[in-house]
Assembly symmetry: C2
Homo-oligomer: 421 residues x 2
């Protein structure tokens, strides 16, 4: 059988093979990178419609839509099936994680003629306006830290005011920059805002990759990295701001310098490698509008409301586009997806994205698999001796469904007569 892999960390998978845009005015084709299950792919060549210019302006970015990606998958699979000997009648299953998981689910919804079923791992298809509370995401992050070490969540919650206090003086800014080994020193209030955002994203990323073994997804990290981080955050309530922040700095370095080879910490990035973050930001500025908020009560972060208008203005300034808040719901059905079939939604209990995922069965063939001690699409990773039994069971169940879908697809259709009047 053929498997289409679309795993990605919120990374636009803009593959095109050959590209077919929805309009017929431009008829260009370009090469698309793809993997089949029996091939290790080491060749260069990302699926970039316009090469280096792909992200250059809104004219080029205009092709970066989920609808285009789905149509590209359809063309790709049809092409592979017609050119790969023996594949012509093979049922195909789409598998994806994160944004790739959303695409995987949507692909089955929109193209059930192309794939007999889909695995959507850690796919937040409900992280859209009006579908889930905007604060649920950060609550999950907070819970991960609360259960990973004594006082861990409490100390992170306290760290924000400690940063505000220390950074109010020039000497405090120097001290902070040095304690965190920042590549560029913090100079003013704006820098401190960026610094806090960067720290917040660090904790979020740790929640996503809280895997039970050493891994290197967003950064090289030890097993159960939040536990490793929390070892530096056990101080009790009498701790001074500086001692607290020294602990936070050591905690952050677990994430940024586990290998010991990092000379300084750069607050303009939170992940190694190019995960297409600009492309994803463009998509969140167009179709993928995902409300997030914090209140400092149910979560350990500084309160910040979801402000669609401010977000829209930011998008307009950056890309010259404005997001369509209800687009994803109209096109992909929102909570009303019960007419579809053969999709597994798997979610990890540690993964903040599970807050926007499908975590209950919708019908007999739209099923949810919860992996309580799993982080972001743990089930799609290679198996590991440290895998918890829950993820092993999840994979077994997923394979069971795959086999059932393939069995269904190979069963000859009954013939039906029409109504003769």
């Amino acid at each position: 059988y053929l498997f289409l892999f679309t795993t990605s960390h919120l990374t636009p998978f803009t593959s095109n093979f050959p590209d077919r845009s929805f309009g017929f005015l431009e008829d260009g084709t370009f090469k698309q990178r793809y993997l089949t299950s029996d091939v290790y792919w080491h060749k260069p060549g990302e699926s970039m419609p316009f090469g280096q210019a792909s992200y250059s302006d809104s004219k080029h970015l205009n092709y970066l839509t989920s609808e285009q990606a789905l149509a590209d998958f359809a063309i790709l699979i049809k092409n592979v099936k017609s050119t790969l000997p023996g594949a012509q009648h093979s049922p195909v299953i789409s598998i994806g994680g994160s944004y790739g998981g959303m695409l995987s689910a949507w692909f089955r919804m929109k193209y059930p003629n192309i794939v007999v079923g889909a695995l959507a791992a850690s796919a937040p298809i409900w992280q859209f306006p009006g579908m889930v509370p905007c604060g649920a995401f950060y609550k999950t992050v907070t819970q991960d830290f609360a259960k990973s070490g004594y006082n861990c969540e409490v100390n992170i919650r306290k760290s924000w005011s400690a940063i505000n206090n220390i950074s109010s003086s020039a000497s405090g800014l120097v001290w902070l920059s040095e304690e965190f080994s920042l590549c560029g020193p913090l100079k003013n209030k704006n820098d401190v805002g960026s610094f806090k955002n960067w720290l917040q994203e660090t904790w979020v990323n740790l929640a996503m990759v809280d895997y039970p073994y050493e891994a290197n997804f967003l950064q090289p990290l030890p097993r159960w990295p939040i536990q490793a981080v929390c070892k530096y955050l056990t101080m009790d309530s009498t701790v001074s701001d500086k001692l607290l922040l020294q602990g936070v700095a050591q905690a952050a370095k677990v994430y940024y310098n586990y290998t010991g080879s990092t000379s300084c910490l750069n607050i303009s990035q939170t992940a190694t490698g190019n995960l297409g973050i600009l492309g994803w930001f463009y998509q969140s500025c167009t179709e993928m509008v995902m409300p997030m908020c914090t209140d400092g009560v149910g979560d350990m972060f500084e309160p910040e409301e979801w402000n669609f208008q401010a977000f829209s203005d930011e998008c307009n300034a950056m890309f010259g586009v404005r997001p369509r808040a209800d687009w994803a719901e109209v096109v992909y059905g929102g909570k009303d997806i019960s007419a579809h079939s053969n999709i597994i939604f798997s979610n990890g209990g540690l993964d903040p994205w599970s807050a926007g995922g499908v975590t209950h069965n919708i019908s007999e063939s739209l099923v949810s698999i919860m992996i309580p001690d799993g982080a972001h699409h743990l089930d799609l990773r290679y198996s590991n001796k440290h895998d918890p039994p829950t993820v092993r069971a999840a994979r077994t169940l997923e394979l069971m469904y795959f086999k059932e879908w393939i069995r269904q697809a190979k069963r000859p259709h009954r013939s039906h007569s029409h109504y003769r009047l």
Copy 2:
């Protein structure tokens, strides 16, 4: 309940309300005409994205796609439901005939969150490459004439060589032009070719509108118009070319001059009014590639093979675009639509488009209704005392399905738990 009407005679329904194109580069909106079931619509204002310029060039025509039309329907319905008091929770059913029927079926396939079901009347969703024999369409036309009068099909079949014989002389061209009361005289071989195409399309149109009562769809016509036409085509095998063609001319005038008010026949048009024929031609040059052919054996026409390359060249010359032969199959599933639900495909046995329609049940909720003595989407027309019992029964059955879909939609969903591992 709200009903969305999308009937059309192979006419692009490019409604947009507000327009949302798939890209985000251009963000224009424009007015869209739509009907709700309790309103008779007499206001001017077609749904033309760029007004008079909508068909002006391929840049403007680039929005004329079925995918765009479906997305527009989704936005429209969402808008109507949120603004029409009491409509918020009303299940919606899409209803369409011909190309509108194809859109209706595809709309349910792609947007089951927006419509609980669809009636696709006389919708040739399989009139695409490799799905049905290219000659089936013209065979049905031929059968309609064969059973509507003695020697009718035989004499039309003979008429082509009679035209070739007569038009081989200058005096013959004059005679032909006068007999047919043509607005412009035939001058050369090219004109004769156009003349024959026009006659062929006339017979096709008659097959589409062979209704059991007076009607005015493509032209004002008597009841069972093919029978009226065939009254002039009963000559036996010894008839001369001229006598035969005099009969054909009188037959053609049944179609073009039933009201008696037509002063001359214009071979550049076969239907009154603007049915968006240019738009449809553009669509057939892009997504809606519908192979047709004749062999003069199973049908009454001059043999003509389906030549995709010649068609593609013609499209390129006219619009600067080339058709994508397999696009409709990839996007809309071709023969593999069994994963969908709640669609009625109704077809008329007299209608040549039934050759490309779904004329057998695919599943319990993808059902076919055949109306043996119905022409093109007869079931969608107003009821009439001359309606045959078969179309009355079809409408009853259609309503039965509508009620069932609405009942399903209103039934509270059972709650399901997820798999906890």
